[in-house]
Point group: C3
Chain length 337, copies 3
């Protein structure tokens, strides 16, 4: 498995998922409770009552104002994690406190800091298109029964679009066109670019933009290890660069357990902003594409689980970005906490 990398921000949920009903997510193996206070502030606490470990996100646990009440014996906690009430007695043990997690709401995501150090001034990487009036967004989250490293591999090598997503977003040119890769070791960003000068227009773009002929197509990947993946996608009819369409594809890649991952996906466009048909089409089409990945990655995980020790992969040029990402992840995992 790909090692977990602590002391990092992770996408825990979409902002709209966190509200006045307790929500439970497992992040890097840690059960986390998410909710919002009455004034709208997101809260992230350990999702285990200190008494008998009942999940505070599980019914009949519930919110009482800004507090959460355990559904088993009524232990009650404030948004800072401090226990404020226990059954049958006035005295509240000093150690009765839930671990609190640093939490930030940014770009339509609720980000949670998993680690031992304090985040200090560190903020999550940005994906501003998800919360911008100049873009229309479709999004979702699919749980993956696979190591998060398999999703990183998948997204950093888009040549798979031609095969796994043929008929949706793949065309022969994606696999044929060479990539350029840039690695920023310091900021831990991997950039992979593929510029196609004359390519078929896949249904994903043809139906959403109305383009009927061939296109120039730019795929510029920016992977901020470990959690945020951005694909700046640009298509335009060949020879008419002034009519370019931009799509920002965003993935939050959040390890849940050793072999499960939250796959947050979003597609933001700068055209046909109010066209509900385009919105519906892109949501449906991208969901299909994501599910093709889910099925494939779950199959890969099963293959991994049963393969003999010492199995060797073979890498080629298209893997340059993915291998760079793996190296960065391995180095981050090995850093002293």
């Amino acid at each position: 498995m790909t090692a977990f990398i602590r002391d990092q921000w992770y996408v825990a949920a979409y902002a709209h998922e966190v509200g006045r009903t307790p929500l439970g997510r497992t992040l890097l193996g840690e059960p986390v409770l998410l909710y919002r206070t009455e004034d709208g502030r997101p809260v992230a606490l350990a999702d285990r009552c200190v008494h008998r470990r009942f999940p505070l996100s599980e019914k009949p646990s519930r919110l009482d104002g800004d507090r959460v009440v355990c559904g088993y014996h009524g232990f009650t906690y404030g948004p800072d994690g401090r226990c404020v009430s226990v059954p049958g007695q006035r005295r509240i043990p000093r150690t009765a406190r839930l671990t609190g997690y640093p939490v930030v709401e940014q770009d339509a995501f609720v980000w949670v800091w998993i680690g031992d150090r304090d985040p200090g001034d560190t903020l999550p990487p940005r994906a501003p298109w998800l919360d911008s009036p100049d873009h229309t967004v479709v999004s979702g989250m699919e749980p993956l029964d696979a190591d998060y490293g398999l999703l990183v591999d998948n997204l950093l090598d888009l040549s798979h679009e031609t095969y796994l997503h043929g008929g949706y977003i793949g065309t022969p040119e994606v696999a044929e066109t060479p990539i350029t890769t840039e690695v920023d070791e310091k900021s831990r960003v991997v950039r992979v670019s593929r510029h196609m000068d004359d390519a078929a227009c896949p249904p994903f773009y043809a139906e959403s933009t109305g383009i009927t002929g061939r296109i120039t197509r730019h795929q510029d990947i920016e992977y901020h290890a470990p959690c945020l993946y951005l694909l700046h996608s640009r298509v335009a009819p060949v020879g008419t660069d002034e009519r370019a369409f931009h799509v920002e594809v965003v993935y939050g890649i959040t390890p849940s357990t050793e072999h499960t991952t939250y796959d947050f996906w979003a597609v933001a466009r700068d055209f046909a902003l109010d066209d509900q048909k385009v919105t519906d089409f892109l949501r449906e089409s991208n969901h299909t594409v994501v599910m093709q990945d889910v099925v494939a990655l779950n199959a890969l995980q099963k293959a991994l689980d049963t393969e003999p020790p010492g199995y060797q992969e073979l890498s080629i040029n298209i893997d340059t970005g993915g291998l760079a990402a793996r190296r960065i992840l391995a180095r981050m995992a090995a850093e002293p906490a």
Copy 2:
């Protein structure tokens, strides 16, 4: 997990479940076959044919008079476990014998002794209300995907009624009222009492007794470690002690495998004995309450299965009975066989 305690009587089944069809139960990890001879005597034998370990409770295994015939190759055993017939030959190997288990039918339960010693004169603890003309009984059994210790914890601390079973048998007064705890180390009985002088009447009692106002409510627990739990429950309208209603709640807590448990539950009442509506209501209502526990305890087991080593619970006054029960169970498990 909570250690298994051998050389004890355990509830294997309700008497009505054991009949002329082979019944298989796994008790403390041991597969046990239960059936009745033609004259009605319950029999408990190892549920594995000595030949190729086919379960004798599995079809097409079947009874032939007082004998059980293996459904795979026809090995046939008497109620004492001795093999009396094998296919293709007259000579029956001397060692062809199923382990027999001591078995007692008592108080509507079939009890089986699991252990290496002989029970001698030891009899199971009593729950006479389950088989008494002065009581009407509703009962059931729910399999639990949880350590039996979690059920012991649950039942010895009824403050959870207020939260997990609110709207059924819980009211605020249960969690608020302090308990008294008594431990009889020698007979291995834990007693926990909670007497409420002026409490709301929960639907469980309001609908079954017809009481409309507030009540005095007594909960007197008697836990006979490891297997039998009794709750002597008494409710009466405030100020009218002569009109008290009694309910005896009985649990048989039988470990099946390390993480599964048989949760036998019964409710015996001394009022409205022939009122079918009350019977139906109490069966339905108590089943709902038991299922709330099942869901919660299964969730706790999942939390336990994934928690890091060294996780610390926090205990308070309400846990005095449960902690005493754990100590007794641990001591019993450590005793020389």
Copy 3:
């Protein structure tokens, strides 16, 4: 578990299952891809792309002429396993090659050699009735959640027909009649014979042959360790040997994983060759019998999985053939590769 025996031919599929759609089977723990070239030749290759281990039998992997194209990134392989195309570059790494498996089509089966040595002149054992104009065949394959050794045990001791398959192919005489056993250590064949001179005719034969009275019934087993099991079955009305009916029952016993097995079964008859009603009846009837075995063997495996270490079976005369088979399998597994 029963040890895997390498350097042997195994039934991988029925010939009719292998065609122009990629088929995946796991043989002795190894994922194997099966398909046919355009000229009809069966191909067996490792079912993992050398790049990122995507299963070549999994959609959208597909055939392109005689080649197979990986559904993830388009790596393309010839029927000899050599990679002939990769995305985004002309140069194909020298090591890009799938392991090929020796494959033979014989007697309606596709046989694959699993091992490290070359098969040389060794051919799979024969079951010619499955592909003969003088016989009509019904067949199928059932996956078993059990060690293949349990299926070997099962088939070598047919006394279980009386109990597990009573009302189908079992009658009291099968279990009652002694067997003779012969072991050919050199060719690794175990022969078990049971000749019944005067037996009830079970529905399986009564309905298919039209015999109404008692029969002579011969069961002559020939087990070619590890994979092929033949039962030469002969029934005739008592006293009329010239009117004998022959059924050849064939099993391919192929270990898949440590606890799963492919159970290939076929029934070839030399009578009523064109009678569709008999064909339908025998297919249905034998499928029922196989499923009775599947249910029983899966139950045995569960019993095995939970039994304490050191559990002792008890064997009697009927087990002579099965024990001989186990000895041969153990010796083969211990042989130097």
